[in-house]
Symmetry: C2
Subunit: 599 residues, 2 copies
């Protein structure tokens, strides 16, 4: 029991010296990658840079204790940071203590919800988000994030939560753009784009082992950070020595040194109510992303992820972020892949990362004074553009119009009405599309394939039917969305066929019958009775039959229940059914049933 909730008891027991070495190496590499990322994502969320560092210490440590993935790296990520900025921006002004308090509260609420969902085993709630919706949302968020960085690359004050708002605001401030900032931002962006593809071949050409080169090539952001910080510091020293005004490059500035102090979220019922929905959305989106990364990596080593325990672990990490002055965290894709590639063997690698991040927070903060904000913006732009996958849209559209439309709508609403409405519109669309599809299930009127015990769609096959019997096969579970449709189908059949005396519902593909569908079946039975027609059921599955026995339907049914459709027709149209079977036997001397290929 304890082991279920504390996976560390499992892997910690057999922790070896070899694992220790591998984990330490991975932790060093992840830390080098995480320092600039955590600063940049704090900036994206509209928070002071050090908050990003705080969110990369205790949360990672807690995930080590509670997580079931061996290689997942949690911390600040782009999409959750954007969602934080959108949610907190609604309730407070950036730069105020209220803004930071709201971000902490968001992490707290998110942590609480995730933990509660995990303990109640409600991981299925993530199922509200279909893949096309998630994919569209992530792509649109990536574009929004990149657009929001333009102000940092130009060195202007601009705002906005949607693409038109951002464009309008940047346009209005364009006159105040700073050329040195633009040069640093453009240079860093160009270098980082090149580093993504060009650095590794260069390192290999210089004689480095390909594996090590792959990992080292990920340190592009650190190189950019160091180079531009030195440049900005030199420019400032030069200006000061010559008595000139500053270069106009905005830098991170004073960052408080030392570890975070324990924090408590503000107690304000109104604020809690206003942040509840954003916290839920951040939780679910973060969880879906986390579990995808964790499962992809676990499968490569045939390890197992417990989705409900991952909720608990992610919840603990967010509660940890809240009490240590951070903001919402989740599992990061790129970072986890680096951790995996660098050879992390156990979650202990995360603990070592946390310790190193704490050391960085204690010692590196004075060095960040001259780090240009444009450099951080450049790292964000390059990182998030890899999230944008618009090519998925035509691919999904080709497979399913409904899914493609849901994805396109999610992208448009996210870009033009903001992240929160985007994800809500996506959820509503996913559900509507699903209901639409299942509300008009495939229904076939079937007849007997002559000389066999098989029954097939009358429209597709040469079959025989009795004039006073109609057999309706429904290829879907019966539930509230299609209950009325079934009534319509039966109604249409009895209205079209005045000689009808028997309706047989053939149910081999009906996996469930809920209370709404039961009521429809009862209504159909009653209406057919009023019209002098009997209702029969055939090929009802075991679990469905068990459930129907709890209702009055079976006792009120005007007709019978047949194990097979052939039994039904033998009883309801004996001459016809036996006739074709006998003819077949006489004609071909076949013994036993004749196999017909599936439709």
């Amino acid at each position: 029991m304890l082991r279920r909730y504390l996976p560390i008891l499992d892997w910690g027991r057999s922790y070896s010296r070899d694992s220790f070495t591998s984990d330490i190496v991975a932790a060093v590499i992840v830390t080098i990658m995480l320092v600039p990322q955590s600063l940049a994502y704090a900036l994206l969320a509209g928070l002071p840079a050090e908050v990003g560092l705080y969110a990369s210490i205790l949360p990672i440590l807690l995930y080590t204790v509670f997580g079931t993935s061996r290689t997942l790296a949690v911390g600040p990520v782009a999409v959750a940071s954007l969602m934080t900025a959108a949610a907190v921006g609604e309730v407070a002004r950036a730069g105020t203590p209220e803004y930071l308090g709201a971000a902490i509260l968001l992490a707290f609420l998110s942590g609480f919800m995730l933990t509660a969902m995990g303990l109640a085993r409600l991981g299925f709630l993530a199922a509200f988000l279909s893949r096309p919706v998630i994919s569209g949302f992530i792509s649109a968020s990536g574009l929004l994030i990149a657009a929001a960085q333009v102000k940092h690359l130009l060195g202007v004050d601009a705002g906005g939560q949607t693409l038109p708002e951002i464009a309008r605001s940047v346009w209005a401030h364009l006159g105040a753009a700073s050329l040195p900032t633009l040069l640093i931002g453009a240079g860093a962006t160009a270098f980082l784009f090149w580093a993504r593809t060009g650095l590794r071949p260069l390192l290999v050409a210089c004689g480095m082992a390909p594996g090590r080169a792959t990992i080292l090539a990920r340190t592009g952001p650190v190189i950019a950070v160091v180079a531009t910080t030195v440049l900005a510091a030199l420019l400032a020293a030069l200006a000061s020595a010559l008595g000139l005004p500053g270069s106009g490059i905005r830098t991170v500035g004073e960052v408080p040194s030392g570890l975070p102090l324990p924090a408590l979220p503000p107690f304000d019922a109104d604020l809690w109510a206003r942040l509840a929905v954003p916290a839920l959305l951040i939780s679910v989106v973060g969880y879906v992303e986390t579990i995808s990364v964790a499962q992809t990596l676990a499968a490569k080593r045939r390890q197992r992820i417990d989705p409900d325990q991952e909720l608990v672990a992610l919840g603990a990490a967010n509660l940890g972020a809240a009490v240590s002055g951070g903001f919402p965290v989740t599992g990061g894709f790129a970072r986890s892949v680096v951790n995996f590639d660098a050879g992390a063997e156990t979650p202990a690698a995360g603990a070592y990362t946390a310790v190193m991040m704490a050391l960085a927070t204690l010692t590196l903060t004075p060095l960040l004074y001259y780090l240009p904000q444009a450099t951080l913006a450049a790292t964000i732009v390059v990182a998030v553009l890899s999230l944008v996958d618009l090519k998925a849209l035509p691919r999904i559209w080709a497979y399913s119009r409904a899914d493609g439309a849901a994805m396109a709508a999610t992208i448009l609403v996210t870009l033009f009405a903001g992240v929160e409405r985007g994800i809500l519109a996506g959820v509503a669309l996913s559900l509507t599309m699903h209901l639409y599809r299942t509300s008009r299930p495939h229904v076939a009127i079937v007849g007997q394939v002559p000389g066999t015990e098989h029954f097939r769609n009358v429209r597709r096959h040469e079959v025989v039917t009795a004039p006073d019997v109609v057999t309706i096969r429904v290829d879907e579970s019966l539930y509230f969305a299609n209950a009325r449709f079934l009534e319509d189908v039966v109604q249409a059949e009895i209205a079209a066929n005045p000689r009808l005396a028997h309706v047989v519902l053939m149910c081999p593909a009906v996996n469930a019958v809920d209370a709404s569908a039961l009521e429809s079946l009862e209504a159909i039975n009653q209406r057919l009775k009023d019209g002098g027609v009997r209702l029969h059921l055939s090929e009802v599955k075991g679990p469905v039959m068990d459930r129907l026995r709890r209702s009055h339907l079976l006792s009120e049914l005007t007709g019978e229940i047949f194990l097979t459709q052939c039994d039904a027709m033998r009883r309801l149209a004996p001459a016809l059914t036996e006739g074709t079977l006998r003819a077949a036997r006489r004609g071909t001397n076949r013994v036993g049933p004749v196999v017909v290929p599936s439709p």
Copy 2:
């Protein structure tokens, strides 16, 4: 084409003298029932009494033109009136012109939405409401409506939208209760309750034909209205003759005579936005009720209802209500049954009812001056208590815990937080329950029943399996809600079985694979490939296969696609499969497949 949208062209063509006679008789009886009801429901909606009459003229006429049901009677009904009061009460104060304007706008929006949904064939949207939710909502609304009448029965000014609010408000005003009002209200209520069951036997005992007695017994409300109006008029005359103050009985008072003037809904974008959601809810609830009544009655005469055209007809009726100064209308259950029982043969009966209602509006209004409001309240109480069916709750709970819980929650939220939240909570719960059920579908690991070509659940049957092959049968369509669950199941199997080399997904019950599930299948295929395991599919249905051909899955699949599970095992574990078949043939001399009873 024109006929589809104008069903009157269909039945009007063959309209006969016999039908005319039957329709006129039915129209007279419905009109007698409708006059007090329309006044009472206007009162319930917080509107002047004449608005109820206006809503019973043009809407009924328009339904005659557009409706496909031969016997449905539209007009003001209890639940829609309560929902109107709740929605309009949020935006205006009762008794003001703004209140009436908002009610007209509500009818207009509802009419517009219903017509648009009908033309776009979006009738499936009604499927968002499961039966238990509708049933719970109607029961709770009935209780709320009855509670709201207590103030009229006591003759006090009270308010409130929820049960606690109403109780608190009535309690606070209890001191101002009027004894004469209470006596009239209690008397009318007692009489109406008795009339429901006692009037018909009495009429039969007096020698009336049972059929005619059934219909005449429905005129109880008219008797109560006439008797109490005369009583109130006499009391007023007496008081005036003796120079005493009035009796304190509140009556309907001055009702403008004459037909409604054409009205336009107010143009106020903010008001439109605030009433959009209530209008949608009234539309959907009204439509669901209408179609249920229409189908029940149509089935008795083997007639057909077109659900999409019914949307158009109900939409036209509501647009008609809006332009003639009425409020939202829908198909009434009791009224339609009376129309049917009274022998209405075509929708023309509705047209005659409309004409008679117009005549009543022109001539009867002066007579309504002394009609006590308490009498109307009594007719409402007696009418709505028949809507309350709390016995459905234990019945549905016994059949399905999920549906029972959704129903109970809908009842509680409606009673304690109001109608709008009640129905929204019900919709959210229905969807959540459905996703929960399908997100963890029944999944079986199957093995071969020795000596047969049948494959059954390894937990329930004596079957043989190969050590390096696992066959997973999913008994549900694959879509976004269960896509991740499938990944978990496969992940668990490969983590538990290190010798695994083949995974077969057996899909005889998979009716659809959406884009999310496709992505999961692709992820499973890739992950299994990374782990050195091949993924195969068997018994994929035709339509599902057609769709999969549009994706990359089939070309990237590491394994094969088998028409039958037996083919798959013959290929993947030939020795085992053929072995058991051969042994069976040797042992029992059976020819061909052996039939095993369904699980």
